[in-house]
Symmetry: C2
Subunit: 198 residues, 2 copies
Amino acid sequence: MSDSYPQSRSTVPHRKRERMSRDKDLVRRVFDESWTVDVAFTGGNGEPRVLPMFHVRVGDRLYLHWSSGSRLGLTSEDGIRVSVSATLLDGLVLAKSWTNHSMNYRCAIAHGTARPVLDDDEAWDAMKALVDRVEPGRSDRTRGPSAKEWAEVRIFRLDLEEVAVKRRVGGVGDESADADVEVETGIMPVETVVSPLE
Amino acid sequence: MSDSYPQSRSTVPHRKRERMSRDKDLVRRVFDESWTVDVAFTGGNGEPRVLPMFHVRVGDRLYLHWSSGSRLGLTSEDGIRVSVSATLLDGLVLAKSWTNHSMNYRCAIAHGTARPVLDDDEAWDAMKALVDRVEPGRSDRTRGPSAKEWAEVRIFRLDLEEVAVKRRVGGVGDESADADVEVETGIMPVETVVSPLE
């Protein structure tokens, strides 16, 4: 068994090759750490559209939650072509020259067809996993959906196949010629902090 | 002068109307607080694509930075149709029932044509503003781009016209019928924390 997702036309790096990875653990961790994803699709008018969504990863399946009232919910059971990104900002990179300023980040991008989950058991398990993302075991301590509530829930699934992570890690990449530029440089770490219940 | 961006077909709310706003201060603040945006566009193969980018807002102009080597950089001077989102997660909403779980967030989405900035002074000012986003006044303390470095820089501009914020604020929306479900509820505040230089 491979530890990497397969290479595809969409996940061939075209520049800064060393920043791209299809390592499964790395890809999965980015989706798991990120609280939301951005879902890009083509709207009915042919225009690009993007929407943030709440998601959960189960194995190599990414489940996306949205209300049946929303625009995407109107699309057919055939699914919709999407590009889904999860971006984690890890640090601001402060350098001696303008163009050496950068960011440390991890960004997972998956391409494919997001399809509505029509199997009721699968949709239920996905919804349960979405609730448990917020607090492990919470789905057992809270009330499950009534028939009416359940009818409003739409879960879409995107299988992680065409997927890769792009990232930057490490320190400042200053030029040696800039040694005498007198300015503080380094990394300002960035973190998403979730505080206890208020 | 209006304090709101104009209504357009893309920014008419189709559901949860109260969650959408075109208030200029609110829209601007979301782009200013967010460190990155997600840019959706249609790829050369007709497929939806999304990329995170570093941005800065100057007045009603959103400047997007990317390298000339990247895929989007290959597009023509006519610009490219985009949908750009900035999403701030403010809190996790823990409720008594599965479907009342939610998130407090502010998401700005702008639609339009992103065009390469061909005016050299405008591009320079935008690049300077990008550096100063990281630390006010930093562009004056660091070395500006050499001719070679400058030739690699691509700044795109999207004018904020067709733009709105969607948001959720406030507390838990539990049903009165769930009063006897014994579980802790409330908001877990979420924040992006930038630490001092390391």
